[in-house]
């Protein structure tokens, strides 16, 4: 234990004589140690290499055109769109934790919401890049916005792709606002603890002079509630709009009415998979075991189990209605999905998303960090494969057998996908290093000692 403490300044019990001070010290020390442990630098180095790979592969695509990817007719929507949907989905758990669970008064969320919101923002940033580079003319994305341009043409608002611009744009903005607003009191804490002038100015600038006045808290809480109430339908709408990109078409495998709630359930499921994958190592490494406890892990695993069931329900409905519709194309597409040349995609999806989470019926496994981590990784893999199953594999064989094809990603596709993790982790590691990783003010608010009983002396 002492050895670990020497190597990792984050370990050991936080100092402080009150529960509140211990929380402050526990969280603030992560950002305040002069040099983080070597492991952080190693992780950051790897993330930077991946980030370089990301920009390198995108640069290569810009240089040679999007033919550099494996995208090829009939599969015109391939890896960039898969990655886009994957990353947008990851983001949803953050908003779910911060907004929906807030509305449902699930106080345990306070330990993980900051962290999950940050994950949301970085995931949405990764996502937003993909449609931009997928259009193949990266110098023209401003065409997507209703800006009066030299051609005097407007964007086409009857297209779901245009809805996407608004949905993802709004989502990114609102997530950042929500995240930032939640962070104001904690930034003020960092400001008040800072010992160097640079830190004081930097944190002070973003804390905006927050001093914890109760009259301000009153409006702050009201605004936070409103943002939560707005973010809840927003998060539902975002992945629904993403699903409309596919579902408004006539392609069998894309066009079905359950897509909107199915995508939302899948996004929350995948997002929680990512949250546990990050939370399990992070609580260990950053010494947050007293804040992110096994109880938190267990609750998240229950949500993974529940949303996994919803996703399974959607898979089942798709297959049943495909048969029930009596439409030969629907029937063929789903037969092809399960038994055609793309069978391995579908079965990986079903096994990762529906079968593996079933181990969480056992309490012991729900509270086991290793099982949690492994299932979390499988859920991420499964949800990536789900999008791969829906988007390119439905396109490989549609109405016209003469235009059937097959799709496998090529090297550049893999580099772009892998590289996007570099962007995500670079931002995430910087966040852990410099910003309050846990919503201190909120965690303090749910401590037993925070429940004020007026003391009459």
């Amino acid at each position: 234990m002492t050895v670990a403490t020497d190597l990792n300044p984050y370990q050991g019990r936080p100092s402080g004589d009150t529960a509140f001070a211990r929380i402050t010290n526990n969280v603030a020390r992560i950002a305040e140690v002069p040099t983080p442990p070597k492991a952080w630098y190693i992780a950051f180095g790897i993330a930077l290499i991946l980030l370089a790979v990301f920009f390198g592969s995108i640069g290569w695509v810009f240089w040679t055109g999007i033919g550099a990817w494996g995208t090829q007719i009939p599969v015109a929507w391939a890896m960039p769109i898969v990655n886009f949907v994957f990353w947008v989905g990851i983001g949803h758990a953050g908003t779910l934790i911060s907004a929906i669970l807030y509305l449902f008064r699930q106080h345990w969320r306070t330990s993980i919401n900051r962290f999950a919101e940050a994950m949301t923002i970085f995931a949405v940033m990764c996502a937003a890049i993909f449609p931009g580079i997928h259009i193949g003319r990266p110098w023209l994305p401003y065409w997507m916005f209703p800006i009066p341009n030299q051609m005097e043409v407007w964007p086409q608002f009857r297209s779901p792709l245009e809805w996407d611009v608004f949905a993802v744009g709004t989502y990114a903005t609102v997530s950042i606002l929500f995240w930032y607003m939640g962070m104001i009191p904690d930034l003020a804490t960092f400001r008040d603890r800072s010992t160097s002038k640079i830190r004081r100015i930097a944190y002070g600038l973003f804390a905006m002079g927050w001093r914890g006045s109760s009259r301000q808290w009153h409006r702050y809480e009201r605004a936070y509630l409103l943002l939560a109430a707005l973010a809840t339908p927003l998060v539902l709408s975002v992945h629904s709009v993403v699903s409309f990109d596919m579902a408004t078409s006539q392609i069998p495998g894309w066009h079905t009415t359950i897509f909107p709630p199915y995508f939302v359930a899948g996004a929350v499921f995948g997002g929680f998979g990512m949250v546990v994958t990050l939370a399990v190592p992070a609580r260990q490494f950053f010494g947050l075991k007293h804040i992110i406890t096994l109880d938190h892990i267990e609750v998240m695993n229950k949500i993974i189990l529940a949303t996994g069931m919803l996703v399974g329900y959607s898979y089942a409905m798709e297959f049943f209605i495909a048969w029930y519709s009596a439409s030969p194309w629907e029937i063929f597409t789903f037969y092809n999905r399960a038994f055609g040349p793309v069978w391995w995609i579908a079965w990986t999806t079903y096994i990762c998303n529906v079968v593996f989470p079933q181990i969480f019926w056992w309490k012991k496994l729900r509270r086991n960090v290793w099982a949690t981590f492994v299932v979390g990784v499988f859920v991420n893999v499964g949800m990536w494969f789900e999008r791969f199953m829906i988007i390119p594999s439905s396109l490989t064989r549609d109405f016209l057998p003469s235009s059937w094809g097959y799709f496998l990603p090529n090297k550049i596709d893999y580099l772009t996908l892998g590289g996007s993790f570099g962007l995500f982790f670079t931002l995430f590691l910087l966040f852990c290093r410099y910003l309050p990783m846990v919503a201190m003010a909120e965690v303090k608010g749910i401590q037993p000692s925070a429940h004020a009983h007026p003391e009459e002396h």
Partner: protein, 433 residues
Amino acid sequence: MSDKQTDAKKSTGEAAKTEPDAPKDGAGTSKGGAGGTPLHGLIAEYETPGALLSASKKVRDAGFKNWDTYTPFPVHGIDGAMGIKPTVLPWIVLGAGLTGLATGILLQWWTNTYDYPYLTSGKPMWSLPAHVPVMFELMVLFSAITALVAMLALNGLPEYSHPLDLKKYFARATDDRFFLVIQASDPRFAEDETWKLLEGTHPTAVDRLEEDRVTPANMPRPLVFGLVLVVLGALVPFALIARARVSTSEKPRIHIIPDMDFQEKFKSQRMNPVFEDKRAMRPELEGTVAVGALEDDDHLYRGKLGDEWAREFPAQIPISDSTMKRGQQEFGVFCAPCHGQVGHGDGMVNERAVELAQGTWVPASDVTQEYLRKQPVGELFNTITHGIRNMPPYGPQISPEDRWAIVLYVRALQRSRGATIQDVPEADRGSLK
């Protein structure tokens, strides 16, 4: 008064002496000096939210208006204890949401229905279902931005400086301590009495809070300059786009990926230096016939017997129920749009064209009219194959067998026009009643 000037901070009994974190003399008193600095108010410190809550109730009941409490987290019940009135924030946000909704409607209507209307995938110019998502997103976007901005504005944030900042111990307001400040500007404020009131609320300490005479009133110049630069920089792309809208350029456009714009391939109807005749499109070799393209049966493929139009169906076409059904189906696919389901020349395309009355439209014929009844089947077949007037040729689209089936069905339509009950076989007459 002099008592407090020499000992600006007065603790309440034992607690402060044993308490290591008790407020010490802040920077304010030492720097500003006690002499001429006006009093901002009195500050009391508490260890628990509960103590603060009871103190707040006392201060509220004493009738103070200009006072506030400072806590590291929102203390449950403090609103009531302090008598804070509900904020107008929700109404502002509701207004912003409705503005966003209206913006969504107007933006989409103006751009897609009014300013630059164009048809796409057969959808109406104003398609409510397709406009709902953007309306919704803008509503949320406007509300969310307003919620944050209005919260900051109502709270008077950002706030550059505050007398409290001069008290070092006040830093714990964002950590684990709870403070109550009564301002000197309150009409009920009287230093000695208020001091006593605060002491009576069992704080860990009470202190005088002087006005801030140390911190400059405004933000440092470089910081302001930097912020202005950032804001201006953010406007540059919009300025460039706006400029592009009102300016024209003589320069050829930039080809960022030239091999996409100028592909190395031969297009149809263009020159190709490889071949002697310089044609990019290659004609069929003389004397070759593609498989299945021989079509050596005049009757079946052209509806002719010698130079005459054939009056009989070719032997390959069975005059049967299934041929009739096939003809009906194909007629429904290819002919009915103009000629109508029963061939009276009243199909939807025809009706629409007549309605538009653009002058170039020759109305589709009634296929049951007299002169067509007399036409040999071969001639009808020929009309379908090659078209007539503005009817296009269907030979390339419909197989000869199906064209004959259509002819058979047209004959049936002609027969049924003006048919009497006598034309119906005796056995089936009952089903018509």
